[in-house]
């Protein structure tokens, strides 16, 4: 009896799904296909850094709600101006006799009319000035940096005041700090040498985690899903690993002990490649995970508008809700993995010979 009702409910669900899909296809055919590409473009735009902090925009009314950010260019001298001059890429900004245009979130040098030349693969060929603008991602990082500074400064201060017992937000942060120390740093690096890496591990863990969480807010920033950001973080891990490495570590790379001489020669380039692959994997992992999370989540949210049915949209909403919860987990997980692997590499660099 019960079994049959379950089967019935399942059947109904399948019917609903297929029918709503059909609906979607039909409406698409009726000339609403541009919604799909619009969503696609929106997602693409969201994934990229931006020169102004737009909270939301209405394309039909051509209005943007947000605030402009300072643009800093190095083009035969420092040029600083507000990004409002671009009018969201619609107009050419003139600064000191030079003309700049925003095209696909990048600044190009153009003539007064704003013409952009393309190569055969439709890439812009205009000159690009060195762009040191305070972009949306930089603002987000500064925000998180400030937040972290005040939060952890508060925690540090609360120890002095309250007999070594944290108060307020510190009660939540202290176990996390201890987690990084006891579960990440000490097991991977070892009791003796973990201390000098603690600052980096703690900073990188909270930095990535908070930025991941910020990416989950409707502010729509995608800092940790940006390749420059993950590259910078991975580069720091790479530098710290190799600058603090001991003799034993280099010995294992260039002259692997305990294997025949021929193998030593074969292994050296492979091991040397590994030195670069390790931080590279860190960079790609964080970038890909966060980007994929944002793309999937936004696509499902986009589906709510595509379905436009009483059944499909709530289902998409439920899916988006479930996925958001999963993404919250991923946000912490990716921060943990990045920190854990960094600690693992530091541990490798500090391993003592035990042959």
């Amino acid at each position: 009896m019960q079994k049959s009702t379950v089967v019935k409910i399942l059947l109904i669900f399948i019917l609903i799904f297929t029918s709503s899909n059909l609906f979607a296809k039909e409406t698409e055919k009726e000339g609403k296909g541009d919604l799909k590409s619009e969503i696609k473009e929106f997602i693409n735009h969201h994934l990229q850094d931006s020169h102004d902090f737009t909270l939301f925009s209405d394309k039909e009314a051509n209005s943007h709600v947000g605030f402009p950010l300072p643009v800093i260019l190095w083009d035969n001298g420092l040029k600083v101006f507000s990004s409002s001059k671009f009018h969201h890429g619609e107009t050419v900004a003139e600064v000191d006799g030079n003309f700049y245009k925003l095209y696909h979130s990048k600044i190009y040098k153009t003539d007064a009319a704003g013409t952009i030349t393309y190569d055969e693969e439709h890439h812009a060929t205009n000159a690009k000035p060195l762009d040191f603008s305070i972009t949306k991602n930089v603002v987000s990082m500064l925000l998180i940096g400030l937040l972290m500074f005040f939060m952890f400064r508060g925690l540090a201060k609360s120890y002095k005041k309250n007999n070594s017992i944290p108060t307020g937000v510190g009660r939540f942060l202290e176990p996390l700090v201890l987690f990084v120390r006891d579960e990440i740093a000490i097991p991977n690096i070892g009791e003796k040498k973990y201390k000098k890496y603690m600052s980096f591990l703690l900073t990188v863990f909270f930095f990535i985690w908070f930025l991941n969480l910020l990416g989950m807010t409707p502010l729509g920033v995608n800092v940790t899903g940006n390749i420059a950001v993950t590259f910078a973080l991975a580069l720091l891990t790479f530098l710290i690993t190799n600058l603090t490495a001991n003799k034993n570590y280099w010995g294992h790379i260039f002259w692997m002990p305990g294997v025949p001489t021929f193998m030593k020669v074969v292994l050296a380039p492979i091991e040397l490649l590994g030195v670069f692959i390790k931080p590279f994997s860190l960079m790609i992992r964080l970038y890909a995970n966060m980007t994929a999370g944002h793309v999937v989540l936004m696509s499902i949210i986009g589906m709510i508008f595509l379905f436009k049915s009483w059944i499909g949209s709530p289902l998409s909403f439920g899916l988006a809700f479930a996925l958001s919860i999963l993404e919250l987990l991923v946000a912490a997980l990716q921060a943990y993995i990045f920190t854990m692997l960094s600690a693992l590499y530091f541990g490798m660099a500090n391993e003592e010979a035990h042959h």
Partner: protein, 166 residues
């Protein structure tokens, strides 16, 4: 890959390194070091407190064992003392008894000896008195008997008669 390289923004990279390293240095000085030191101190404190508590517990146990031992010793000592005292008392009583007995025996013997000598003296005295009395009586009787001449002559005659002249 091409898209990745195309997406790479040197400006963002620059700011990221600057912000991150700055944040790292600031946090190291103002947050991580004090936090980790405080936590370490606290953990050390807890460890020490636990150790000293354990030690105190051990000491307490030792103390208790000592107390028990001392108590037992005291009890044993008390028992011994009581036993000794009882022994002493019994001995004393026994000694006193025997001494009293011998004393009593001595006194009785002395008394008997005195009584015996008194008796002897009394008997001797009595004998003397009886002898004296008898002599006196005899004297008186003789005086009375021989108060007349004829009586004296008669006596002489009787006596002469008894004597056989050989």
């Amino acid at each position: 890959m091409e898209k990745l390289i195309n997406d790479f923004s040197f400006g963002l990279f620059f700011w990221q390194i600057l912000i991150f390293v700055g944040l790292l240095l600031l946090l190291r000085k103002f947050a991580w070091k004090p936090i980790l030191d405080a936590v370490n101190n606290r953990e050390e404190g807890i460890k020490n407190a636990l150790e000293s508590a354990e030690e105190a517990k051990k000491e307490m146990q030792n103390l208790q064992a000592d107390n028990e031992r001392i108590l037992n010793e005291a009890r044993a000592e008390r028992d011994g003392m009581l036993k000794e005292a009882r022994q002493l008392k019994e001995n004393m009583i026994a000694d006193a008894k025997t001494e009293a007995q011998t004393e009593a025996d001595k006194i009785v013997a002395q008394a008997q000896a005195t009584i015996a000598s008194e008796k002897k003296a009394a008997i001797a005295d009595l004998k003397n008195q009886v002898a004296g009395l008898s002599v006196e009586i005899a004297e008186k009787m003789l005086k009375k008997e021989l108060s007349g001449n004829d009586k004296q002559l008669e006596l002489v005659e009787s006596m002469l008669e008894d004597v056989t002249l050989n």
